[in-house]
Symmetry: C2
Subunit: 219 residues, 2 copies
DNA sequence: GAGGCTAATGACAGTCACTGACAATTGACA
DNA sequence: TGTCAATTGTCAGTGACTGTCATTAGCCTC
C-alpha cells in the first residue's frame, strides 16, 4: 500500500476536521442550533467546500455511522454458510459491536460517536434520515441473506420479511438504549442480545397461555 | 351536531384547497420540483398563511395519510379483546383498507391519494419523514397492544417487539406495492394479507429443512 | 526547477424554505 | 352598529444549498 500524495492527505484531514467539529457542536449546541457557517469558520474553509465534501448538513452527522455499517455488512458476508439467516444476522451484529471501537477512533473518540448516536435519535430531522438509511441497509442485507440461502430476493419474500422483522427489533433496541441510563457499548450489546431472543416468543399466537404467564425478561 | 360558523368553514376550505393543489402538483411535477410559492399562488393566499396551516412543506404531503392513521388506531381499539395481539393488528389493518375510501374522498380523490403514497415512497426526503411518522405510530400501537394484554409497555418488551416486527412487514409490503404494477386498493390489501402470513415461517430457525423446500408463496 | 495541467478551493450572487413582527382585514357577538 | 378577537397579509431577515467563474496549489513532464 503506497502512501497517498499530499493532495489526498490534505483532503482527508479537511474531511475529518469537518466531521469532528460538526459532531462536537451538534452534540453540545444541538443540531438545529449549529449553523454550517459556524463549522466552516472553525475549520477555516469556505461554506462551498463543506458542501463539496457533504451533500447536506445532515450527511456529516452520519459520516461515522456510515463506517460502522460498512463493517457490519462485511462481517455478515463472512459468517459461516451453515448458520441460519437469523443467527447469521444476530452474530454479525454482536460481532460488530466488538470490533467497532478501533475503526471509529481514527476519526473521532468513541465517546463522541455514542453521543452522536443519541443526538440523532433525539433530533426529529436526523431521526427521519436515520430511518431511511436503515431501510437502505435492509435492502443490502436482504440480498446478502438471499444469496446465502440461494434464493432470488425478488421471487421469495422471506429474506425481506426476516430482515424487516430483525431490523425492527434492532431499531427498538437502539431507541431504548438511547433513553436508558447505561449508555456504554456493553449496555447496547447486552440489550441487543436480550431483545433478539424475545422476537420468537413475541410472535406466538397468544402470549397468555399454557406455557407460562410472565414475560421472558424485562429491561 | 351544529353547523360550524362561516369562519370555520372558510378555514376548512382553504386548508383542503392547499392540500389538493399541493398533492396534485407534487404528484405531477415532483415534490422538489414544486415550490410553496406556486401552491399559494394557485390557492390565492399568502405564503405566510400556508405556514400557518402546515408547519412545513413536508407536512402537507402527509395530511391525508394522517387521517388514515387515525382511522386505523380507532379500528384497532375496537377489536374484540379475545383476539391475540398479532391477529388484532392484522385484522385492524385489513379492516381499515375497506373503510378508508369514504373518509379520504371528502378531501381528495382516492386516486390522488394512492399516487401521493407512491410519490412519498419515491422521494427520499419524504420517505424519511414517512418512516419517522411510522415509528411514532408504532409507539401508539404498542401502548394499545400492551393495554389489551394488561401489560406495562415499559416493563415487558414484547409489545414493542411484536409491533416492530409487524410494522416492518407492513413497510416492506407498502414498498413492494409501490414498485409493482397493480396499484389498486385491492392489490395492497391482498399483498398485506399474504405477507403477514409469511412472518411466522420467515423467522423459523432454518428455511431449508424437513418440512419442505420452497417458499410459501411468491408475489 | 520552470511551466503547463488539473483538481481543489474561494468568492459571489441567487433560490427556496421558513420565521418574527406588526399592520390590515374580517367574522362573531353584544 | 360598533367592538373584540381571530385570521390574514406584508416585509424583512436567516439559513441551507446551488451554479458560475476566478484563483490557488499539488502534480507531472521535460
Amino acid at each position: 500500500m503506497t502512501v497517498p500524495g499530499l493532495r489526498e492527505r490534505k483532503k482527508q484531514r479537511t474531511r475529518d476536521a469537518l466531521i469532528r467539529v460538526a459532531l462536537e457542536r451538534f452534540t453540545d449546541q444541538g443540531y438545529e442550533g449549529t449553523t454550517v457557517d459556524e463549522i466552516v469558520e472553525e475549520v477555516e474553509v469556505s461554506q462551498r467546500t463543506f458542501f463539496r465534501y457533504f451533500s447536506s448538513k445532515e450527511e456529516v452527522a452520519f459520516a461515522v455511522q456510515q463506517m460502522v455499517e460498512e463493517r457490519f455488512v462485511r462481517t455478515l458476508g463472512e459468517r459461516p454458510p451453515d448458520e441460519g439467516p437469523f443467527d447469521a444476522m444476530r452474530n454479525a451484529v454482536l460481532g460488530s459491536w466488538d470490533s467497532i471501537g478501533d475503526a471509529i477512533t481514527e476519526v473521532v473518540p468513541v465517546e463522541l460517536y455514542l453521543r452522536t448516536f443519541r443526538m440523532i435519535e433525539s433530533t426529529p430531522a436526523l431521526l427521519a434520515v436515520h430511518l431511511r438509511r436503515s431501510t437502505e441497509m435492509e435492502e443490502t442485507i436482504s440480498r446478502i441473506i438471499a444469496d446465502r440461502e440461494g434464493l432470488d430476493v425478488d421471487e421469495d419474500p422471506r429474506p425481506r420479511i426476516a430482515v424487516a422483522a430483525f431490523s425492527g427489533v434492532m431499531r427498538v433496541t437502539g431507541q431504548l438504549w438511547g433513553r436508558g441510563t447505561d449508555q456504554s457499548l456493553d449496555a447496547i450489546r447486552a440489550l441487543t442480545e436480550q431483545y433478539l431472543d424475545q422476537l420468537g416468543p413475541a410472535l406466538a399466537p397468544r402470549w397468555r397461555g399454557p406455557d407460562g404467564e410472565g414475560p421472558g425478561a424485562a429491561p
